[in-house]
Symmetry: C2
Subunit: 300 residues, 2 copies
């Protein structure tokens, strides 16, 4: 407990964030020897940059295919420069521009916000969930059993990865926002909101059942309304949290082991879309440590 | 001596490589507190990922603006997917595809080559030497005096940076390939070759003279022909080495302190365009350590 995942703050090379990190709970490999996953040509994640072993876990921070340091692709891409700081400020629930939410767990100085925006980097090719999941599967093929940590758009990619790889022994998902997988025929209707309409994804029941076989925890932060909000940045998360609850019911209804932690419900207030890099990140990491311990996956 | 710059292997988020690293020779700042440079909106380098202090130096590994993790830009870009592995294999002087040069300091296993190609990532916006140099200047404004280490296309950017920042106390340039700066009126004619024509750049004499005030060392590897070669990958470096020699004469002719080390001339054979990550990288790092010591810039 109390381990601080300083590395996790750096796992976000984002536009729409969807990066994964892998906490490996078995014996460590020297970082240099597993610099990225093998497998299909140029579709693999590049996990070389910040991989580290601290004695307890090896941590692989992934630049997913077609983003950041793994930007080289077999398909072309075009990037539109967009002045959208205010959009992200809202969607990432820092506040309503230019005001921070009261009590938000984000530093108020200008430089912190500056650096926050600088963490973003665009897609350099078409987003392809299958390519990305295959890449993460290839990483797990290389490193063996581990815990997959996902964030935001990475949530949906994580379910696909866990379906495809037996080496994913648990999933910790911070604010999964898209790609909720339900059994075909049991997909809930699209959920409209002022922040857009969220559609779930159908997968064969055989695939879905894989998700019932591993412990999974979802964390959501603060300032997510229960009622429809005219603020699209917040309403997008009302819808996502509602869909997540349906998803938890669906997985657990088939014998799964999923827990959804809405942080305000356990007295942790003010978290943004990035709980692991918020000011209270040590406490957030403690929750993760607790989950790993309870799941028998803590290297300690 | 003998210090191994393992980090330097990770400084290359390249298409045409042009990344800088900064070895700071004064007191260290904790990596987290200087995550990237301040300055103009979204034009700064992002140096956060692999910054480290090992007790001797703080090392800032830079993703330059519009590349890698610093891919967000105020200008749009388009990326053409190109099957050009053979081109880079040749231009980076690993060999003539699919054969490695005899004695090349590059591991022969397929996975090493695979990982080598994966280090590349495309530009996400227009290449702008002024923007990039300003960004590196902004980094030096933040961290104070240091040694600028450049590579390839970064060489020319490094001269501009050294002209603009008094905090650049030395430049170590591995295989600078473009952007050789000469005093206006003394620019040598373009140099044609089978690998393309290389043009030098004119700058005001006042700017050029800045380059005479700091120690500078250039390193070039092996398999660079002295005579015209029909292999464009090699001939490109014949031209660049020739231009570099003119540049050294120009700077030293105005009172500068530049040394050009063609590694084969001192008995170090087989180096590619990436001497610092070649198999003999420890020996290459020793040369850098020696340069820092001779220049009075070694923290030891």
């Amino acid at each position: 407990m109390g381990r601080r995942f300083t590395g996790i703050m750096r796992m976000y090379s984002i536009r729409s964030p969807q990066t994964h990190a892998v906490f490996r709970s078995s014996s460590c490999t020297a970082p240099g020897s597993s610099r990225s996953a093998g497998g299909a040509h140029r579709t693999d994640v590049k996990a070389s940059r910040a991989s580290s072993c601290d004695g307890d876990f090896c941590v692989y921070l992934i630049d997913q295919p077609r983003r950041g340091g793994a930007g080289r692709s077999t398909l072309p891409g075009s990037i539109t420069a967009t002045a959208d700081d205010q959009y992200w400020f809202a969607l990432f629930r820092l506040g309503i521009w230019p005001d921070f939410f009261p009590g938000v767990q984000f530093p108020r100085d200008a430089e912190s916000l500056n650096q926050f925006f600088r963490q973003m980097t665009p897609d350099t090719g078409p987003f392809d969930a299958g390519v990305i999941a295959d890449a993460v599967v290839a990483l797990f093929d290389r490193i063996g059993p581990g815990v997959l940590v996902t964030h935001s758009q990475g949530g949906g990619l994580g379910w696909i990865t866990a379906i495809r790889s037996r080496n994913v022994r648990a999933v910790v998902s911070y604010e999964p926002g898209t790609g909720f997988t339900f059994p075909e025929g049991e997909v809930p209707p699209p959920m409209p909101g002022s922040g857009g309409t969220l559609e779930a994804v159908g997968v064969p029941i055989r695939d879905f059942l894989q998700l019932t076989k591993i412990p999974i925890v979802l964390y959501y932060g603060d300032n997510i309304p229960e009622q429809v909000s005219v603020n699209p940045g917040q309403d997008a998360w009302r819808v996502r949290l509602a869909m997540a609850r349906l998803w938890v019911e669906a997985v657990n209804g088939k014998g799964g082991h999923v827990r959804l932690v809405h942080l305000p419900d356990i007295g942790i207030r003010g978290n943004t879309h990035f709980p692991f890099s918020d000011l209270n990140n040590t406490g957030i990491a403690d929750l993760l440590s607790g989950f790993l311990t309870e799941s028998g996956l803590d290297a300690d």
